[in-house]
Each structure stands twice: as C-alpha cells, then as structure tokens.
C-alpha cells in the first residue's frame, strides 16, 4: 500500500520533471544529430557533423581554454576554501555555525550582482585604482577589467562559499584523535596533514573542485561581464549558437559535450569519495 501511495504523492512532481527536464534534454540530444537548416531552423536529416565540429581545432581550442580557466579557478577556490574551512573547523564549536553561515551567505545573493561588484572594484577608476593612487601611484590606471584574471577572480569569488561548505563537512566530522595519534607517534605537523587529514577530507575537496569546474566551464555571465566578451568559454559558445548564430543543432552538440564533461567529473568525484571511505586505516604505507 505504501508503494502505491508513494507513487501517487510523487506523480505530479515527477511528471513535471519528466515533461520539463527529461524530455527537453532528450530533445536537445536529438537536435544534435540533425543538420542546420539553410535559413536557421533545423533540417531533419541525420548527421554526425555537429559532434565532429566540436573537435574542430577552433572549437576544441575554446574547450581547452575554458577547461584551463575553469581549472585555475577550481584550484584557487579549493586552496582558499580549504584553508578557510580548516580555520573554521579549528574554532570553538559554538562559533563554527555562525562563521559558516556568514561564509555561505554571499552565495545566496544574486550572481549577477556579485559579478557586478567586481566591475565596480576593477574598473579603471575603481577602488583598486584609487587604492593604488593613495599609495602614490600616478601612472595610467591599470586595466584589470576585461582580462582573464578578472574572469578567474569573478569565478573564484562566486563559487568560494560552496567550496568552504564541502570542505568543512569532512573536516568537522574528522576524529581529532587520529591527528593526535599521528603526532604522538612522531609525525610532524606536515606529515600529519598530508597522511591523515588530507586523505580523510579528500571527498570534500573533490566535491568542491568538481562543482567549481563544472559551473565555471558552462558559465556565460562571468566571461561576458568581466571578460568583456573577449574570452569565449563554452557557455558563451552555446549562448551564441542559440541566440546569435541560430545554429541550434551545433549548440545542442556543445551542450551535450558539456553534460558529458560534467558526468565524467562526477564519476571521478564518486571514485574519490569511495576511495576515501575505504581507507579505514589511514596510517599506512602507500606502497
């Protein structure tokens, strides 16, 4: 009886998700196998050309460049986020939820506004320039906006709170006696961190890194606003195919490539957390 009642309760939401997520995503997958019509639109002739074009040097280059920018953003976000999570986890227990709340709070405010805040900071007469002038800088205002650095800063800024959250979870659950035992046995602080703490908290790092990477590589707002449209990323490419170039089948193939990258990374992440959970005896020789 429970099963039928459960199905009845879930039916409306599942119908919504199937009708407005599964079917549309399936449609995009199907679109990727058709040709572009002569005047835009879709010509329903089967082709694999769209997928071949994804590997065209021009587009493959954009893929690699997006992956590089997303990779750098993920790396920086993990280093800063892990340090912050570690510092929070080392505070008094009563203080931790408060610190965590304020670390995550910016994440819930509008993405566009958080990105805009960086335009205000980095523009030619922005706070950073003023600050440098204050210290006696008299030259031309530095051009910081519309650079790759600005795009990376924006991505790190926007996704950092999430990384703090994913890194904090395993750090706060960790049994402090493990680290103490390592120190008692003569492990230096660095060895203890590398051999005990890091492996145990790897799932949080992996989850945070995958999250930043996936959202960065598919981003189009940050490259458009902070990169000034000069740095094409896959997100912008998909945007262009659908709204400017009117080549939906190719845009669909690019979207599917994006989904494929995401799934691959989620598998890697699942593997990382699997490996960490099987490490019941963390203090042992690696080989």
């Amino acid at each position: 009886m429970n099963t039928s009642r459960s199905t009845f309760l879930m039916a409306p939401a599942l119908a919504w998700l199937i009708g407005l997520m599964v079917v549309p995503c399936g449609l995009v997958l199907a679109l990727a196998f058709f040709q572009r019509g002569t005047y835009g639109g879709v010509d329903y002739t089967f082709t694999l050309e769209n997928f071949a074009r994804v590997f065209d040097p021009l587009y493959a280059g954009i893929f690699l460049n997006s992956a590089r920018i997303a990779g750098i953003a993920a790396l920086i976000a993990v280093v800063i986020g892990y340090s912050a999570a570690y510092a929070i986890a080392s505070c008094r227990r009563s203080l931790q939820p408060v610190l965590l709340f304020f670390a995550v709070l910016p994440f819930w405010s509008n993405y566009l506004i958080r990105t805009y805040a960086w335009i205000v900071l980095l523009n030619r007469e922005g706070l950073v320039t003023q600050f440098m002038r204050w210290f006696g800088y008299t030259g031309e205002p530095p051009s910081m906006l519309y650079t790759e650095g600005a795009v990376i800063a924006g991505l790190v800024y926007n996704y950092l709170p999430f990384v703090i959250l994913t890194c904090y979870a395993p750090l706060s659950r960790m049994n402090p006696e493990l680290a103490e035992a390592s120190r008692d046995l003569g492990g230096s602080a660095f060895t203890t961190f590398r051999r005990i703490i890091l492996p145990l908290t790897l799932p949080g790092i992996a989850a945070g890194a995958v999250f930043v990477f996936v959202l960065s590589i598919g981003n189009f707002v940050t490259p458009a606003l902070l990169g000034g449209g000069r740095f094409q990323m896959i997100g912008n490419l998909v945007y262009d195919q659908f709204l400017t170039a009117n080549d939906w089948p190719f845009g669909a193939a690019l979207s599917m490539a994006l989904i494929a990258i995401m799934m691959l990374l989620l598998l890697v992440q699942a593997y990382a957390s699997d490996r960490a959970s099987t490490r019941t005896a963390p203090v042992r020789e690696d080989g």
Binding site: N2, F8, L9, M10, A13, W16, L17, I18, L20, M21, V22, P24, C25, L27, V28, S83, Y86, A87, I88, S90, C91, P97, F101, V104, L105, W108, S109, N110, Y111, L112, I113, R114, Y116, A117, I119, V120, L121, N123, L127, Q130, Y157, L160, I164, L165, A169, S172, L215, G218, F220, V221, A224, F242, W248, G251, A252, S255, L258, I259, M262, L266
Partner: protein
C-alpha cells in the same frame, strides 16, 4: 583539534580575516556607493538616498520587479506543493531507487545554460508563446529539487508510527496529513518555500532564455544584466543593494526555521 600552538591559532585567525574580507569587501563597496551623492559611480562625494528615489520612478525597473514577483510567487507556490508531496512520497517508499534520486536532484547539477537551451528548444518546438508563464514552468523544475531536499531532511527524523496511530484512531489519510504530518514538517516547508522564492527572484539564465521576445516579460535579473552591460551607474548600485537585502532577509528567516540545513 585541541593542543594547537598559538602560532597555528593566529594563522587560522589571519586566514579567516582575509577570506571574510575577500567575500564581503566587494559587496560592502557596492552598498556604500549606492548611498553616494555624486553621479560618478565609484568616487565618494557625500551621503544621499537620491538613487533609491530615482529607482522608484524608473518604470522599466518597476515593471521588471513586478514580473519577478509574479514569477517567483507562482513558481514558489507550485514547487512548494509538489516538492513537499514528492519529499513525503520519496520518504515513505520502501525501495530506494538510484534513478529516482538522480531524477530529483539532476536540476541541481545540470549547468543552467543546458537546461535553458533545452527548454527554449522544447517551447519553440511546441510553438508555445513564451512569456512569464514559461519562466514559471522552468523555475519550478529547479525549485522542486531544493524544496524536496529541505523537507526530506526534516522527514528523516520523523516518527512515522504516529501517522499509523492516527490512522488506527480512525483519521482519514488527509486528516492525518493535515493534523499530524504537516504541523511537524511545516517549518521545513516554509523554509523550502523561502529558499525557492530567493532562487527564483535571483535566477537569470533560464529566465533569459524562456522569456521570449519583447520587453513585457523582462524580469529584474534580466533588467540588471542589460543595465550592467550598458555601464556602471549609481542606480544599479541602489537596485543591487535592495535585491541583496531581500535575499538575505528571506534566507535568514529560512535558516531560522530550518536550523542545520547549511553545514550540518
């Protein structure tokens, strides 16, 4: 992590100060400049609320705000109702299905741009006239996942035997839900609804793709995006401050109702 030296503690404090400065200085500058008298958006020249006053007479912004309110309320009502039922359904199900979990949480991880172009293709293939209603249809998709997650977290500690007791005492399934289950999960339902409201108010990419042509269905984030592309103005600073304040208030209430959603 007891037994830490003073140096380690100081290093921890330094890290926290730097990270919180990184997180909050950009926002603080934005908020401060929204009260700036001068027309230059980045140079301070005295306190004023005139940009807030000028917002109130900007018809584009007011109509965008109204559109956002309509979309957010409609998508929140639908997703709260369906998401709560979904959460209960998932929790009383005996078998655990990976496919079901994947379906429910997929909207949280699918890149926005992919869902956006998928819905655009879908709506235009159906020859549906796009507007606020299609944005609502789209927003419910990702809001469902968040409402369901919040309510399920609450149901994890729910003692189902009290619903059996209620049924044994002759209550109908609906009465049991209304008098027993709902009062227990209500804080989580309201917290989930506030979360959905915030997400819908802030969502830009999917709305941008599913709003259709024409200005009549422009939402606030779409309006902000086109203003930002045009350049920095003190008006954007004021608008941004208001939007952030609304999100923060809604989220703070949501957190209070649902302690422990973040980080525990």
């Amino acid at each position: 992590m007891a037994d830490r030296s003073r140096a380690a503690r100081q290093a921890g404090t330094t890290v926290l100060v730097l990270v919180f400065a990184f997180l909050y200085v950009p926002i603080a500058v934005l908020v401060a400049l929204s009260f700036n008298e001068g027309g230059l958006p980045t140079v301070w020249s005295g306190f004023s609320v005139k940009w807030y006053v000028s917002l109130a007479s900007n018809r584009d912004i007011l109509s965008a705000a109204l559109n956002t309110l309509i979309v957010a309320v409609a998508s929140t009502v639908i997703s709260t109702l369906l998401g709560t039922l979904l959460a209960i359904g998932v929790e009383i199900r005996r078998r655990r299905g990976g496919a079901l979990e994947a379906l429910v949480f997929a909207p949280m991880i699918i890149p926005d741009i992919v869902l956006a172009v998928a819905l655009l293709s879908f709506f235009s293939m159906l020859d549906l006239t796009m507007g606020l209603h299609t944005i609502v249809l789209a927003h419910v998709v990702f809001n469902l996942a968040f409402v369901c997650a919040v309510v399920r977290a609450r149901l994890k500690s729910f003692d189902w035997s009290i619903t059996e007791a209620s049924a044994d005492l002759g209550a109908s399934a609906f009465t049991t839900f209304r008098r027993v289950t709902l009062p227990v999960i209500l804080p989580a339902v309201v917290a989930g609804a506030l979360l959905a409201l915030t997400l819908s108010v802030d969502e830009f990419i999917i709305a941008f793709f599913t709003a259709g042509a024409g200005r009549s269905s422009t939402t606030l984030p779409m309006q902000i995006y086109s203003m930002i592309r045009f350049g920095i103005t003190p008006e954007i600073n004021a608008l941004a401050t208001i939007v952030m304040a609304v999100s923060v208030i809604a989220l703070a209430i949501s957190q209070r109702l649902n302690r422990g959603m973040v980080g525990r």
